[in-house]
């Protein structure tokens, strides 16, 4: 990948900063994770440490706000801290929520693919439970009342060669994104000239062609 390093001693040329360790606040990272998760058609890697740190910060801030309230601090200050806390909590909740929605939608597919390892331990537990509940529900209303050979929740009938009933994420879609660093010349389409992908431009890409850059943190979805 082409990456010019014109960074001066002072400050950071945006291009030579490894995006995964660039000096950024957790809120910024959480916002990025939230945007990516919202825009990506499939479930992305759970951000364990980030969520852990964010929850701790939320807790700390909750204690601070409580302290302020008890010590009769100026109500405006309390209110500002509360708003700050609320913004963080919204991001955290919304991030976890989008993931749950995707998990429920694609639970069987996820459980049978490498995507399973992208879930947190709690999400895996939730997913298993949801699968059991859904299976039970579909079994008692439909499947158990169908003739033998047609009762599978995965296959349309015993003559199906593969699991032809399982919903899968639609990776064949388009996403808006920005690259954090110049990606250099990318081969976007077979048999086409590579295209120079610049930083800070908004692009509309085929999700599959930039999927790996989203995973590596070089590209942000929007």
């Amino acid at each position: 990948m082409a990456s010019s390093s014109e960074g001066l001693g002072l400050g950071f040329g945006s291009e030579d900063v490894d995006p995964s360790i660039a000096m950024t606040t957790d809120v910024e990272l959480l916002k990025r994770a939230w945007r990516n998760e919202k825009a990506a058609p499939e479930i992305l890697q759970f951000q364990h440490e980030l969520v852990q740190r964010s929850s701790e910060q939320v807790q700390l801030m909750e204690e601070t706000v409580e302290d302020f309230e008890q010590n009769g601090a100026d109500p405006l200050t309390v209110s500002v801290y509360q708003m700050d806390l609320d913004r963080m909590q919204f991001l955290l909740r919304s991030y976890l929520r989008i993931r749950l929605q995707k998990i429920v939608k694609y639970m069987i597919h996820i459980s049978k693919s490498e995507a399973w390892s992208r879930l947190s331990e709690q999400e895996q537990k939730f997913s298993k439970r949801c699968m059991d509940d859904m299976e039970k529900h579909l079994n008692q209303s439909v499947l158990s009342r169908l003739p033998y050979g047609y009762q599978s929740i995965l296959k349309q009938s015993i003559s199906s060669e593969e699991d032809d009933m399982v919903p899968q994420p639609h990776l064949d879609t388009y996403v808006f994104c920005k690259s954090r660093t110049p990606l250099g010349a990318l081969q976007i389409a077979d048999g086409e000239d590579p295209m120079d992908v610049l930083a800070d431009f908004l692009y509309l890409f085929h999700y599959k062609s930039i999927r790996s850059f989203v995973e590596s943190g070089h590209v942000d979805l929007f």
């Binding site: 032809d164 009933m165 399982v166 919903p167 899968q168 994420p169 639609h170």
Partner: protein, 186 residues
């Protein structure tokens, strides 16, 4: 099949196509209204929903006749004035059926025909979704296929949501599923 539970895909596969049976089939007389016995004779021409026609084609039991909405007459009309052809009454799932039926009838030109039709119609969908929608909608909307309606809705609803945001107002609302019953204070 990632679209197994997809409502549109399921309903689309109900679209009828004419097929000719290359084999006889017993115990399914219901398929052929003209059959006198409970079987379909070899050589019978029958209208079947796509889900059945397709699978029988794959098993080489039937040949599929080009559906009317892809015949030369429709093609000429589309070429003359794409935006004003009433595609919905011909087939609400015009594009989807076209994509699925093309391999069955071995017609290489259907792909480019669909593309041409779509390209020449979708611009209109967009401008009407965003502009004076109320004035044109009644005449224009009934011509659209299902996919075009989805596009129209996509454009219209995001514009409506934006306008609503710009006007401001309550950020919290009653869940729409509860219906719009009487609200005290109004």
């Amino acid at each position: 099949m990632s679209r197994y539970f997809d409502i549109d895909d399921i309903i689309m596969e109900d679209e009828l196509s004419s097929v000719v049976f290359k084999v006889g089939a017993n115990g399914v007389g219901l398929l052929d209204p003209s059959a006198e016995t409970n079987r379909v004779e070899q050589g019978s021409k029958v209208e079947l929903p796509f889900w059945l026609a397709n699978e029988l084609y794959l098993r080489q039991a039937v040949s599929v006749i080009v559906p009317q909405c892809f015949n030369q007459k429709t093609r000429r009309e589309i070429q003359a004035d794409a935006a004003y052809v009433d595609l919905r009454s011909r087939c609400p799932y015009f594009y989807e059926l076209g994509c699925k039926v093309a391999p069955l009838i071995g017609d290489r030109t259907i792909g480019s025909f669909l593309l041409y039709a779509f390209m020449n119609r979708f611009k209109d969908v967009l401008s009407k979704a965003h502009s004076a929608a109320f004035a044109v909608a009644p005449r224009f909307l009934p011509l659209l296929t299902k996919e075009e309606m989805h596009l129209y809705e996509a454009a219209r609803s995001s514009m409506t949501a934006f306008k609503k945001w710009r006007v401001g107002g309550s950020r919290f609302e009653k869940a729409s599923i509860l219906g719009k019953k009487k609200r005290s204070g109004e």
